[in-house]
Amino acid sequence: MADIKGYILKRLLLLVVVFIGVTALTFTLMSLTPGDPVLIMTGTRPINPEHLQALREMLGLDQPVYVQYFKYLWRVLHGNLGMDFRTGRPVIDEIMEALPRTLLLALCGLSVAVGIGISVGTISALKQYSISDRISMFSSLALASIPNFVLALTLIYIFAYYFRLLPVAGSGSVKHIILPSLALGLGTSGLIARFTRTSILEVVRQDYVRTARSKGLSERVVLVRHILKNALISIITVIGLQFGYLMSGSFFIEIIFAYPGIGRLSVNAIMDKNFTVVQGVLLVVSSVYVLVNLVVDILYVYIDPRIRLAKAEEG
């Protein structure tokens, strides 16, 4: 087992490197903001130039770039992401309020996507070339091609307006999260369905499925223990990668449904030119994304015994 720890350590190291890269990138992006950030923040109100200079000094804007970067990195590592100049609240607080909500939404969307996707994909694979197969595969492609905000608007029209079933905006109860999750997850469900079908079809052709049948096992056992178990390995990697996509997709969904998550926070911040917030969001979202990918990679190692044991033997 020694080398699994080595593998995890290596990945954590990569995480650190990427994190530094992430901070560097966000810092660079923000430094490239055209215009004087101080002027942007204070707007058109006439201000004494001395005060402007004081503000600059306070923000450390008068110092060379690399100094600014290290100061920035230092602050970040201490959890200080700056101040939201509109509300006066620390950015980190605002993000920590909004982030769990977005994560919840992404998770619900993922559940929708996985639940529908794997079921549809499996049934399609087992009924290859039948009419239901063709229809579901086409629908899957269509769903994956429709932008999620279009799906959201369609769902709103049908369920909230026409049938008056579900609320459109806000948060706070289970009902509020149904439509957003659907809007977020349906597109990805199409992707997962198609991938599941491909994966299962590949597995079904394998010799060991034939061996399993030759043992006289029931079709259900063959499906679950032999087919799905092996197909799931590659499907899970895809699912893990989709989480990041879902998090970015939530930007649009949150706006449409007025859901108080990170997406809405950042888009409003962009409108207001509230750069500290945008910077903080970018940093946090990217870090979460990298972490999720790391978790998926590690999960993958554990799930496939070939990789898990091969790594153990390497060490």
Partner: protein, 324 residues
Amino acid sequence: MSKELLKITNLKTYFFTREGVTKAVNDVSFKIGRNEAFGLVGESGCGKTVTALSIMRLVPYLGKTVSGQIFFEGEDLIKKSETDIRRIRGSRISMIFQDPLTSLNPTMKIGNQIAEKIEQHMHLSREEAWEESINLINLVGIPDSSEKALQYPFQLSGGMQQRIMIAIALSCSPHLIIADEPTTNVDVTIQAQIIRLIREKREESKSSLLLITHNLALVAWLCDRLAVMYAGKIMEIGNSEQIFDKPDEPKHPYTSGLLACIPSVHHRKRKLKMIKGSIPNLLEVPLGCPFHPRCEIAEEVCSRKVPEPIEVEPAHMIRCHFVR
């Protein structure tokens, strides 16, 4: 209770592909008795594996058994329902496949792959089935059986993987074991061990064996009777004595050719004989006797008429116009 364990009559299994119909098994008939080792011999692509799969009703996707009967212990397998066949598979007929690495589930522990079959057919508890599988791993000559049972196929050598396949096949004491090229994908040094193991276990369990192979030497060593197959048809059936031990006995030209082809370690300087030509594409089998384009004694009638099986001796059948 019939004396024969397995009786196949006029079996035809075709593959319906976009390019045409492949007549993989084209009127095959033979019998296997109880406690008998039977060899089905032929070059690659002559339909022997498809015959085996037809017995197990595991013919792959585009194939279908179109006619014929497969009587197993008195019942026609072709007419049985899927549920009944599943009960027979594994418990009364089992199969050893050619490539053990791809034929084992890569993400399932070895012990479980044996135990699941035992659980299915013998209604034992999980622990009992696991115990039994460890016994079987011992039986096929693998040391440290309780540790090995927890491992995965890729952690075993090719020889050990094949032994596990044999263990799986032996479990639940089937009456007929079908072995499809059991030594082809295994190292030469291990081949002898595997074959010896098969012979031992079969004799111990008194089950019948259907050995499918292109290797005549294996058949000679292991089997009581054999059939020679070519392009989907059986060309000759006889017992080992008749075919191997009596060079003056009438034989099918193809069989003679195969026997002459075997390189001998003891006659190194002798010129290696060949059968001219190559096996036909099963989409376009020649009219008449399928072997006639390669046959040295072929005449005009051979290209017109399919020869009927002729019994040249008791229990010795040859399909040729010119046997005597």
